[in-house]
Amino acid sequence: MSARVGRVAALALLAAVHLAALGAGFLAPYAPTAQNRTLPYAPPAPLRFVDAEGVFHLRPFVYAVTEQGSVTGAYAEDRRRAYPVRFLVPGAPYRFAGLPGHVHLFGVDEPARIFLLGADGFGRDQLSRLLHGAQISLFAGLMATVLSLGVGWLLGTVSGFYGRGVDAVIMRSAELFLALPWLYLLFAVRAMLPLSIPPARAFLLLVLVIGLVDWARPARLVRGVVLTARERSYVLAARGFGASDLYLIRRHISPQTAGLLLTQAALLVPQYILAEVTLSFLGLGVSEPVPSWGNMLADLQHYHVLASYWWMWAPGLALVPVILAYYALSEALSTR
């Protein structure tokens, strides 16, 4: 596989993931907040082709399920009636690119539900939540990464390139930023925001703060590379010919830091998406009922969920292709 193919594949994968997130309203069979209180932790419904009488159907169908007894999570299928999967069905309203819509890619007739990835504790469709949750999580992860790497790169380059006093000041503040208990700042920011702003916006604001205070680590790494780069003979030579600082940084120093930054970016995006798992425990994540991968994974951290409902791992699995795509992209870009 050549670097070119790799680049195309990575871009295609990323595009697919982001398109799925954008088109969540249409792709998802239900509204992400629609509760079904009789179906908590309903398992994924298998798509069937052969019915109870052994007859084959070309159009896949599902059975309705009902809870067994008083124990949550025990379900039985009602095999008396099959509910065929229908395409382009009307359903819960949503907005796509600002336009209202109510047609969904697929669905089944009521009272049956098509939970391809099962349901959570409120009987909400995991697939719908996963698709809608991707919108916030992918965006938040990318935004925080760009912010922290951007600030980190700038300060790290300046620090390594100019050295001396500038280096001392920037690196000392980096140490300060690395050492401070930022959690309290997040608490403070949350306290200053009005309670009634939408959960997603509140969360994005916090992500902004996180990205901004998290520049020290990348800065430190970039600085190390710049320290080496500025002493290379061709840099010294260029300087000798009277090249300006800006030119030196742009033409000779930055390319040296690109590989490092790309590797960092590929690692930071999933890290920031996962950071919300911890944040939501502290009331700093995206709050109910709006889904995000972080708050969905936060459910998985409970022993009873982890041990009983395997389909709750879905957001973790969804994260894998995203990580792979970012990784492949960073690989492809750094081996131009």
């Binding site: 309290y184 608490f187 403070a188 080496t228 590989g259 890290q271």
Partner: protein, 314 residues
């Protein structure tokens, strides 16, 4: 000297940050219907929480001078004696895990860099992606679940119930046995990212003009890798290693809580949430020390591995 300044800056800014965050340690007491408002006020006054910020900072500095590191509201005793025994346990865990992670990641990443676009590349890419996709807590709980199902490892703590009665050798073995799961959880958490850094740096170096030149001169591949590429790849790794020392006290926080490891983790987490602020500041300051040490070490190593860097006099 600048270390002292940094410590002063960190402590002062931490005081300001906590001041900004809502609620204080005694807030929760208000929920107990049997405790009157007057009692809560009296307690706040006793710990000086009703005083202005500069005065509280002054008091804390005075306590620092006495070697107490401040006073915990929750424990009603100086912070220092609370930290020391736990610090040792945390370091035992994190130093082991960090060392193991680096020992694992450097050879693995180097090997990976030489195996581009093969089945091994694909396998490692997939495996690291999966590990990166799991929140730490899920990883830890998963390991615990494994321990319960198989009974191979203890499900928490640092020693067995009858530890005190064991002979010396058995005690060491006991602790080592209890270390397995938490260390595994930490290593699995660090290695995926680390191994990717190593791989990227080595791959970068292998593609550099001087390495290609060395190859063109017919120098054996092994020698190219170890004599030319690896030293060149060391730069970002050295910075990373320096930074990783700063995390020695905090990286295991969640793991310690879930695996009931008697380290700083449970103490620190509880203190953060309870706004038991002096107790929070203790580990924060200790981490700052480690950070300074790590950065100094990284700068020295940078200069040593790459003679071109001129480190200025500080």
């Amino acid at each position: 000297m600048h270390g002292l300044l940094l410590l002063a800056g960190v402590s002062l800014l931490s005081f300001v940050l906590v001041e900004l965050a809502p609620g204080d340690y005694f807030a929760e007491m208000r929920l107990d219907p049997r405790i009157s408002e007057a009692t809560v006020h009296a307690l706040r006054a006793r710990y000086g929480l009703d005083r202005p910020l500069p005065e509280r900072y002054g008091r804390w500095l005075a306590s620092l001078a006495k070697g107490e590191l401040g006073y915990s509201f929750a424990y009603g005793q100086p912070v220092g004696p609370l930290l020391w025994p736990r610090l040792r346990n945390t370091l035992l865990l994190t130093v082991t895990a960090t060392a193991l992670a680096w020992l694992l990641a450097v050879p693995l990443g180097t090997w990976w860099a030489t195996r581009r676009r093969g089945p091994a590349d694909a396998a490692l890419t997939g495996l690291t992606a999966m590990l990166l996709a799991l929140p730490d807590l899920v990883l830890v709980l998963g390991l615990l679940l494994l321990a319960v199902r198989t009974g191979w490892f203890p499900t928490g703590g640092m020693v067995s119930l009858g530890h005190e009665q064991m002979p010396w050798g058995a005690r060491v073995k006991d602790v080592a046995f209890h270390l397995v799961l938490p260390v595994a959880a930490l290593v699995l958490g660090i290695v995926p990212a680390l191994v990717r850094y190593v791989r990227a740096s080595v791959a970068d170096a292998l593609g550099a003009p001087f390495v290609r030149a060395a190859r063109a001169h017919g120098i054996p591949e092994r020698r190219v890798l170890f004599r030319h590429a690896l030293p060149a790849a060391a730069n970002p790794l050295v910075s990373l290693f320096g930074l990783s020392l700063a995390g020695l006290l905090s990286m295991s926080l969640l793991v310690e809580v879930v695996m009931s490891w008697p380290g700083l983790g449970p103490l620190f987490l509880e203190a953060i949430l309870a706004r038991d602020f002096h107790l929070v500041l203790g580990p924060v300051l200790a981490s700052t020390f480690l950070l300074l040490g790590g950065n100094l070490l990284a700068d020295l190593l940078l200069a040593a591995t790459d003679p071109r860097i001129r480190t200025e006099e500080r």
